[in-house]
Amino acid sequence: MISLATAAPTIGAAFVASSVEAVEAFTIVLAVSVVRGVRPAALGAVAALVLLALVVAVLGPLIAAIPVHGLQVVVGVLLLVFGLGWLRKAVLRAGGALALHDEAAAFDAETSALRGEGQAHAAAADWLAGMAAFKAVLLEGTEVVFIVLAIGARPGLLAPAAIGAAAACALVFAAGLFLRAPLARIPENSMKFAVGALLTGFGVFWCCEGLGAPWPGGDLAIAPLIAFYLVAGLVMAGAIRSMRTRTRTA
């Protein structure tokens, strides 16, 4: 039985990381339900969730069979690469070099695409709508599954990671049902920024632990590492912003 102090960072990390993906998936499912009704949207989303649950059920026990040090390096590298990608994109968005992700625009694009499909092939419209919901939940859910498997890769941590991810999905779903609108107000880039720093911090920590170069302070080193990448990212975003301002005024 693991303690709450050990499980809490895993639950928190899985919760924050999964909520970003859940918002993106929910936007598409909501668009499908607005255009074609709740039934195809729910069927598509539930089918994808069942498939993803099967993936976790199959891969979870397999991960437990791999030696801990080797697993720490492999998962650490995967988390590092995944987290760096998110952090880089979030820094570029915060610095104004990339456009921000707009959930309202994604919702509008999906609803108009589905309306067009509905007029062209009325008989197959529900099937197409269900497939759109299935695809959105499957694709965004794949990232959630990776996060759950990677963050929960140490003995006893798979369940806390799954609880964190499930809580994020449930909260986003409840918020979406209550608001009945795309969750455009959620500061997605700020969350992606934080999650990118978090996954990068976890990745660097696990790589070093797995290689046999442990951090001073053990698990306590994770928090300062995450803070380091957060601050580094903010400094880089600030530098890009001022560089772009100088270029525009010159």
Binding site: V73, V77, L78, L80, F82, R88, L139, T142, P214
Partner: protein
Amino acid sequence: MSVLRALASTIVKMFAADLWLTIGAVAIIALAAAALRANLAPPGSLPFIVAAAIAAALAIGVIRGARPKP
């Protein structure tokens, strides 16, 4: 079929959105492992070197991404 294609593209994007950044991060970890095995770096200082090298790789990735496209 289109779902499988989209799934494959999502998985590729997850780990190689910026291929050079991915290669850089993997190279840093591989070099750290080699340095540790050859006793070129003390295990106590290696975590800090890796953390700093990863931050430098991120900075290079950000600079490359922020450059105006021709």
